[in-house]
C-alpha cells in the first residue's frame, strides 16, 4: 500500500480540532448532497391532505440524510478517526476518460474502433502497462467482443464506423 507515507501533508489541511477528518468530510459531503436534493425537489408538490405528493418522499429522505450527515460529521469532530485517504489521480482519470471516449465514439465509429481505443486509454491508468502486450490483448479483446455481443448475444451493435458502412 502506498498511502502510508503521504499522510502527513494531508493531515495539515484539516484544523486540529477535527479529530476524525475522514468522517468529518464524509459527513459534510452527505449534508451537501442532502441540501442539494432538498433544493432540487423544492418545486415538487408536498402533502395534499393526507395523501403524499410527488415531493414528500424525496424531501423526507433528504431531511433524514441531512440529519445523518450532521451526525457523521459530529462523530468525525468528536472522536479520533482515520485521516483522509490519499486519492490517486491516474487510475480514476484514465478509467473515466476511457469510458467517456467509449460513449462518445460507439455511435459514430462502431464497436471495433471504439472498444480498441478505449482499451488503450484505460491501459494508461497504470504505469505498469507494457505496450506490446497491451496492443495484442486489446486486439484480442476487440475481436472477442465483436463476436460475443452482436453475434452470440444478438445485440444490435454496429461494428464499423458509420461512414465506412454507408
Amino acid at each position: 500500500m502506498s498511502d502510508a507515507p503521504s499522510h502527513a501533508p494531508v493531515k495539515s489541511i484539516m484544523p486540529k480540532w477535527v479529530r476524525g477528518p475522514q468522517d468529518f468530510v464524509g459527513g459534510l459531503a452527505l449534508m451537501a448532497i442532502a441540501l442539494f436534493a432538498l433544493w432540487a425537489s423544492s418545486d415538487l408538490q408536498g402533502m395534499r391532505g393526507f395523501s403524499f405528493g410527488a415531493g414528500t418522499a424525496p424531501r423526507m429522505f433528504a431531511v433524514l440524510l441531512l440529519g445523518l450527515g450532521i451526525a457523521v460529521m459530529v462523530v468525525g469532530l468528536m472522536t479520533e478517526g482515520a485521516h483522509l485517504a490519499t486519492y490517486a489521480w491516474r487510475g480514476p482519470l484514465f478509467v473515466s476518460l476511457s469510458i467517456l471516449s467509449f460513449s462518445l465514439t460507439i455511435r459514430p465509429l462502431g464497436l471495433v474502433v471504439s472498444a480498441f481505443a478505449s482499451f488503450m486509454i484505460a491501459a494508461l491508468g497504470t504505469p505498469e502497462t507494457k505496450w506490446k502486450e497491451t496492443i495484442i490483448v486489446g486486439i484480442c479483446l476487440t475481436i472477442g467482443c465483436s463476436l460475443l455481443f452482436p453475434y452470440a448475444l444478438g445485440l444490435p451493435l454496429q461494428l464499423f464506423p458509420r461512414f465506412l458502412v454507408q
Binding site: 500500500m1 498511502d3 475522514q22 468530510v25 464524509g26 442532502a34 436534493a37 408538490q45 402533502m47 391532505g49 393526507f50 395523501s51 403524499f52 405528493g53 410527488a54 415531493g55 418522499a57 424525496p58 429522505f61 433524514l64 440524510l65 445523518l68 451526525a71 457523521v72 468528536m78 472522536t79 479520533e80 478517526g81 482515520a82 483522509l84 485517504a85 490517486a88 487510475g91 480514476p92 478509467v95 473515466s96 476511457s98 469510458i99 467517456l100 467509449f102 460513449s103 462518445l104 460507439i106 464497436l111 472498444a115 478505449s118 482499451f119 484505460a122 491501459a123 491508468g125 497504470t126 505498469e128 502486450e133 497491451t134 490483448v137 486489446g138 479483446l141 448475444l153 445485440l155 444490435p156
Partner: protein, 505 residues
C-alpha cells in the same frame, strides 16, 4: 408433502430443459471465471454480468444469474485457498486454513472439501427453500402496505447491524440510496423529480448503471490505487491428488453438517447472512474442536465448515427475496433489479402466478451446485493459470467489457457515462469508509418503500400511528428499534473509550 414433490417435479421439469441446463452451466462457469479473477468480488461479478442476461427469457436469465452468483462464490473460495486472497467477504475465514493446506501441498483436498461441503449445503438449502417457500408466501399475502413498509425497515436495519463498520454510516448510506432512487418520474403523479430536464434521467437512474459503477468500476479504480501488481504469493507447486483422503472426509463430515445448519439459519436473516455465517461456523468449529491449536495451521474442518455455511446462507437468502420480495443483501438486490427488468415483481405473487419460474429457479440452483462440483474440480488447473494473468492486462479488458454491456442494455451512450460517474462516487465512498452495499439495498428498496408508505398513509387517512397500532407492523418496527439500539450501544461505549485512549488509531 405431495404438493412439495409435485412442485419440485415442476421445477426440475423446467430446469432440465436443454436450454436452461446450458444457461445454468454457462452461468456457473462464467461466474467462476470472473470470481477467480483477482480483485473482483461476488457483487461486482454479478453486477458486471447482469447486462448479458437481459436478452434471455426471464426464467433462463434468472437461472443464469443464480449460476453466476454461486459460481462467483465458488471462485472466491478457490482464490482464498490458492493465493490467500479471499475473492469475497464470505471466504475470508477460508483463507486461514485453506491457504495453509495449500502450502502443505494439500490444495487439492482443500478445494475438493470446499466443493463437497458447498454442494451438500446447497442440497439442504434447496430443500429448505422448497419447504419454507409456501408457508412464508401465505404469511406474506396477509401483509398490507403498512406491514410491508415495516418489514422493509426491519430488513434494512438488519443489513446495517450485520454489516461491518459504523452503524451510523451504514444507515446514512441506506438513506443516500433511498434518495438516489427518488430521481426520475413519480409513480403516481408522473411528475419529474430531481431530473433537471435531462432526458436520460427522466426514467430514473438505471439499476445496472448504479450497481456496476459503485461495485465494478469503483473496485477497478481502487485496485489500480493499490498498484496493479497486487501481492499474490501463488502456491507454486503443482496440485497433486485432488481427492481428499478417508480421514479428511471423516474429519470434515460433522463440520460440514454443523456449517450447513448454522448457515441455513443465518442466511434467512436479512443482511449479509453469508458473511456472518462463515465467521460463525469457523468460530464454532474452533470452539468445539478437541485441539483448537490446529486451526490456522491447515485444519480441514476450518475449510469445510465456513464453506458449507456460506453456501447454505447464500442459498437460503433467496427465501426472503422469493417469498416476501425483500432482498436481504446486495446480491439479492441485484436479483431484484434483474427481475424488475424482466417485468417480474418479486414477492409472494411470483410463487402463485409464475410457479415455473419459482420452482425452476430453485431446482436449477441444485443442478448448478452439482455442476460446480463435477466441472470445476477438474478445471482447478485452469483457474490457477487464470490467477497468473497480470492485472494490468485484465482491468482494461474488464472495463471495456462492462462498458459495452451497459451500453447495450438501452443502446444509450449516456448510460456508460453514468457508470463512470458512479464509479467515481463509489471510489469516493470507499475512501471515506462508507459501505456501498447498504446504498444499493436502499436504492432498490426505495420505490417499494415509498409506494407502501404512501398507500399505508392513505389507508390510515394520514395517521402515521398506523405503523405502530397494526400488530404485525408494530412488532416488526419494535424489533427493528431493538436491533438498532443493541447495535448502537456498544458503538457509543467504544467511541467513548476511544476518546479516552488518546492517539490510538
Amino acid at each position: 408433502m405431495a404438493e412439495l414433490f409435485s412442485n419440485l417435479a415442476l421445477g426440475f421439469g423446467v430446469a432440465f430443459t436443454p436450454i436452461n441446463l446450458l444457461l445454468c452451466l454457462i452461468g456457473a462457469l462464467v461466474g467462476t471465471l470472473v470470481g477467480v479473477l483477482p480483485g473482483i468480488g461476488t457483487i461486482a461479478t454479478v453486477a458486471m454480468l447482469l447486462p448479458i442476461t437481459f436478452g434471455l427469457p426471464p426464467v433462463g436469465a434468472l437461472i443464469m444469474l443464480a449460476g453466476i452468483y454461486y459460481g462467483a462464490q465458488y471462485g472466491g473460495s478457490t482464490t482464498s485457498i490458492l493465493v490467500n486472497i479471499p475473492g469475497e467477504a464470505t471466504s475470508v475465514v477460508t483463507t486461514l486454513d485453506g491457504f495453509q493446506m495449500a502450502k502443505q501441498g494439500r490444495a487439492g483436498p482443500a478445494l475438493a472439501i470446499a466443493a463437497i461441503g458447498s454442494f451438500f449445503a446447497g442440497c439442504v438449502a434447496t430443500v429448505l427453500i422448497a419447504v419454507l417457500g409456501a408457508p412464508l408466501t401465505k404469511l406474506a399475502l396477509a401483509f398490507g402496505p403498512a406491514e410491508y413498509f415495516s418489514l422493509m425497515v426491519l430488513g434494512l436495519i438488519f443489513a446495517v447491524v450485520l454489516a461491518k463498520g459504523s452503524v451510523l454510516k451504514a444507515i446514512a448510506m441506506i438513506v443516500f440510496g433511498l434518495l438516489l432512487s427518488m430521481v426520475g418520474s413519480d409513480i403516481e403523479t408522473g411528475a419529474s423529480r430531481m431530473a433537471f430536464n435531462i432526458p436520460e434521467l427522466a426514467d430514473g437512474l438505471g439499476f445496472a448503471t448504479v450497481a456496476m459503477g459503485v461495485f465494478g468500476f469503483a473496485e477497478i479504480i481502487r485496485n489500480l490505487d493499490a498498484g496493479a501488481e497486487m501481492d499474490r504469493d501463488l502456491v507454486q507447486q503443482k496440485i497433486t491428488g485432488l481427492m481428499p483422503t478417508k480421514k479428511d472426509l471423516i474429519d470434515s463430515a460433522p463440520a460440514i453438517l454443523r456449517g450447513t445448519v448454522l448457515g441455513s439459519i443465518l442466511g434467512i436473516l436479512p443482511g449479509g447472512g453469508a458473511v456472518i455465517a462463515s465467521f460463525a461456523a469457523y468460530t464454532l468449529e474452533k470452539k468445539i474442536a478437541k485441539d483448537p491449536s490446529r486451526f490456522g495451521r491447515g485444519a480441514i474442518e476450518g475449510v469445510a465448515a465456513p464453506e458449507s455455511a456460506n453456501n447454505a446462507a447464500a442459498q437460503t437468502s433467496f427465501i426472503p427475496l422469493l417469498t416476501l420480495g425483500i432482498p436481504p443483501n446486495a446480491v439479492m438486490a441485484l436479483m431484484v433489479g434483474a427481475m424488475t427488468i424482466h417485468g417480474i415483481v418479486p414477492g409472494p405473487q411470483v410463487m402463485t402466478k409464475q410457479p415455473e419460474l419459482f420452482w425452476g429457479l430453485i431446482c436449477s440452483m441444485w443442478i448448478g451446485n452439482l455442476m460446480l462440483v463435477i466441472i470445476n474440480l477438474p478445471l482447478v488447473g485452469l483457474w490457477v493459470r487464470l490467477l497468473r494473468v497480470p492485472y494490468r492486462m485484465l482491468f482494461p479488458a474488464i472495463l471495456i467489457f462492462c462498458a459495452i454491456g451497459v451500453y447495450s442494455v438501452n443502446n444509450a451512450p449516456a448510460d456508460a457515462i453514468m457508470v463512470a460517474a458512479f464509479g467515481l462516487v463509489g471510489y469516493w465512498l470507499v475512501k471515506h469508509d462508507f459501505e456501498p452495499a447498504p446504498m444499493l439495498l436502499g436504492f432498490v428498496l426505495g420505490p417499494l418503500m415509498e409506494e407502501n408508505l404512501r398507500r399505508a398513509m392513505l389507508i390510515a387517512r394520514g395517521d402515521p400511528s398506523t405503523f405502530l397500532t397494526r400488530p404485525i407492523s408494530g412488532v416488526l418496527l419494535a424489533l427493528a428499534m431493538l436491533l438498532l439500539v443493541l447495535a448502537l450501544l456498544p458503538m457509543i461505549r467504544s467511541k467513548r473509550d476511544e476518546v479516552f485512549v488518546e492517539g490510538e488509531t
